[in-house]
Amino acid sequence: MYRYDEFDHDFVKARVAEFSDQVERRLAGEITEDQFRPLRLMNGVYLQLHAYMLRIAVPYGTMNSKQMRMLSHIARKYDKGYGHFTTRQNIQFNWPALSDIPAILADLASVEMHAIQTSGNCIRNVTADHFAGAAADEAADPRPYAEILRQWSSVHPEFSYLPRKFKIAVTGAERDRAAIQTHDIGLHLKKNETGELGFAVYIGGGQGRTPMVAKKIRDFLPEEHLLSYTTAILRVYNLYGRRDNKYKARIKILVHETGVDEIVRQVEAEWQALKDGELKLPEADVAAIQSYFAPPALKPRPEGDEVIKLARLDSRSFGEWLDQNVFTHCNPDYAAVTISLKGIGEVPGDATDSQMEAVADIAEQYGFDEIRVSHEQNLILPHVARADLKAVYDALVAIELATANSNLISDIIACPGLDYCALANARSIPVAQEISRRFASLERQRDIGELKLKISGCINACGHHHVGHIGILGVEKKGAELYQVTLGGSADEHTSVGEIIGRGFGPEEITDAIETIVETYLQIRLDRSEKFLDAYRRVGPAPFKEALYASEAKAA
């Protein structure tokens, strides 16, 4: 894992001191809310419906047990005993007092964490594949490059006041688990035919009110040019991105309105002036950062197969968890584990202080002290010996985090929605909870197979509904909540934006509608191997529309 150097320590310490002073001056009435708002946002502090909200960065979703214990401590001491893991691989606390935030930031700094650039029109937390450094299918670990981007983008003087926020994601595998094509810049780390590392570069993806799939503008950018090329993209965006209308200010709009060819021409022209300058990555520096992310010393543990065989015979539920929540590791004696934060009827992404503490213990004992946050709002133990999986499972059962539903219909992404968020128009969490309860049977969920359901409580799309196989968007219509359904979205290497299926549904109708959609899929699929998304792409919306709305059409 990356460890702070002296510069990082001093920088974060200085920022905590600076913001503590700003909070003090605000509380003393020396600065106004208008002056303070941009300062608090730069430090991750929002004002929501019930209280302030603090968003803490978890760079590329990677942390150690000490850091997780600190999050648990903050939840217990300053908040209401829980935290909410987000789609940006961060964590949010929903109830901190403004007057406590300096103390929280000081506590975070003691474990090399902070809340810098988790808001504002700057480069946000760089996200990465949550199985990075562990997945059997990756060309290389993308996190060293995410870290290079983090260092480069932290309080970058040129890019701290962009037209709008800017999000970068990196994956190191062909199978995209980081949703790179929904980002302002998506980077796919890969090897060329001679084995050199570089990136396929995508720009202009995004969700929100104008969803766009990113365009690939480079098939292979040699790794040494990562920062020079990224700078060229940011410069073109910073110069030409719209500042007159916040809804048209993201790079996706610039790319769309200017045209990809012209944007590429501008980026390449800018890059020509930069590529051989100081931004060219020195090999030694890349190697130094890579060394921070060196995989742990994984001792041979060949007894795993035998241990698992016996444990399966002993416990059917362990077998189900193994089939669903355990992912293939690059070392055959090991596995990556998804800890579902989607217990049936629970709030997607929420974990209590005691659960966080227990996960830290498990990671320390069995997981080489490493924990990840996935953008799908789960936690990951990237390196667990297969021989220890039963022990890990038992420990997760004890804290009620052993739900075997990874990638199934109850593994729902949901934004906080109107229960917390000042921007929301409708609730998301109760909808997610009711759908989860409706499909509580694991047997039924497994029969349905992979199905990514994503819910947002407003068009800002924090719940990624546009790219859900089934997406739900909550809106306010005539003072009441209404839920629009989209089908066919996807955030993988074949990213697509879902299509609105028809009129929306009231809160009391939406779960039935989802069930109708799922039942329709079960009837039309060729066999169990044809997943929901594949079936939808084969047949299109017609049978789903028919099932949802035919009776109305006849009645009319």
């Binding site: 019930h50 109107l418 306010e476």
Partner: protein, 101 residues
């Protein structure tokens, strides 16, 4: 009919301007106004409290009174007045007095 609401600067707590001239932590004692003059009076109070760094995010909101109890018209304000609908153990609704007639 309208009432005045905001969040307290120090801790973000949702508050309502009350009949006794203070910012209350529950909606039940909010001062209601029925006409433009009343709204203007509340707006002036809100602006003064904002300028005085007592509260932030000040808003006049629509309510109705049913059987003597104040009910916000928008769901957003209902949730602010009670707490998250999925966690009845949090927010105003979790207070001992909440729900009492």
């Amino acid at each position: 009919m309208k009432i005045l609401t905001a969040n307290r600067l120090t801790d973000g707590e949702a508050v309502w301007f009350s009949t006794d001239g203070n910012w209350a932590e529950t909606i039940d004692v909010a001062a209601t106004v029925y006409d433009k003059a009343g709204e203007a009076r509340l707006e002036a109070i809100g602006k003064a409290a904002y300028d005085n760094n007592e509260v932030v995010d000040v808003n006049l909101i629509d309510v109705s009174v049913v059987d003597g109890a104040i009910h916000p018209l928008r769901l957003r304000e209902v949730i602010r007045a009670a707490g998250p609908t999925n966690r009845l153990d949090l927010g105003k609704q979790a207070r001992p007095a909440a729900g009492a007639a």
